[in-house]
Amino acid sequence: MDKLTGKDQAEFAVIEAALRTYPLKSPSAGFADAVMTRIETLPGRPRFRLSWLDAAGSLLLSGLGGSLILLWQMIPPQEMARLRMTFLLAWQRLQPVRLELALAAGGVAVAMMLLILGILLVQARYRLEANG
């Protein structure tokens, strides 16, 4: 690190004095009031609310899922083997019509997506109308 000469020090003293006296300006008189007005007009934070219907629906769905898993676990091994065999046989029988089935499934999926899109569009339009 280079050493500062006497001239350097004198110059820096002048600069330091200027920096320390750089004027501090004030905002307009109504600044704090304007901030508080903005804060008071802020929309309230949405509170988390769980309606009884949501609670009942989610309880039913989770109960259903849990029951299915439990039932699957309770199937005896012989019965499970028989089920697997039945499934394989059914799969073999479906072999010739697999393409048609895939197309039908794709068609159903596209129809479902269009339906959901339609519902969303109708909802959005309803919301826009409700908000004026």
Binding site: D2, A10, F12, I15, L19, Y22, K25, I39
Partner: protein, 191 residues
Amino acid sequence: MATGESDLIRRAQSGDTEAFGALVTRHERFVYNLALRVIGDAQEAEDLAQEAFVRAWLALANFRGQAQFRTWLFRIVTNLCYNRLPGLRRELSAFGDDCLMEAPDDAPANADPAASLEASEQQANLHREIDGLPESYRLLIVLRYQQELSYEEIASVVNLPLGTVKTGLFRAKERLRLALRNYEETTIWTS
């Protein structure tokens, strides 16, 4: 933290707008001044300072008191300035940390009364030069000399390494030194 400030913050965190109003009044000048010195336009600076307080209100629950409330507010203002001036952060980062010579922070002030008039003219000229510096230098200068933050606090506010802050301030002073020399040469020639 200033006396009573922690109490005001606690009350504001529980939704007391009156307590937050007191905090606004306490810090408005510093917040506005930081915005003004960086942005350079009084109206825009006022809007930005208001926005900073609104954001502080919304984020108050996240303030845990590890830093000073004032430093936390300055961080919000600085982030808003970064949004407003997209090149500012890049400019600051470009300083690097190759500071070769430490400029003294506490250099003695000129005590000669005969030179006071000349000194005040010099200061007025330097104040104009500070106004003409790029925003990145002005931000560092205001945080260091008007808000009297330590280098570490400035580094935390601008979210850059300590070396970058020191280099930025050093370069700002170097620019001012050059301006001072030019000014002195001009006054010698004209007198």
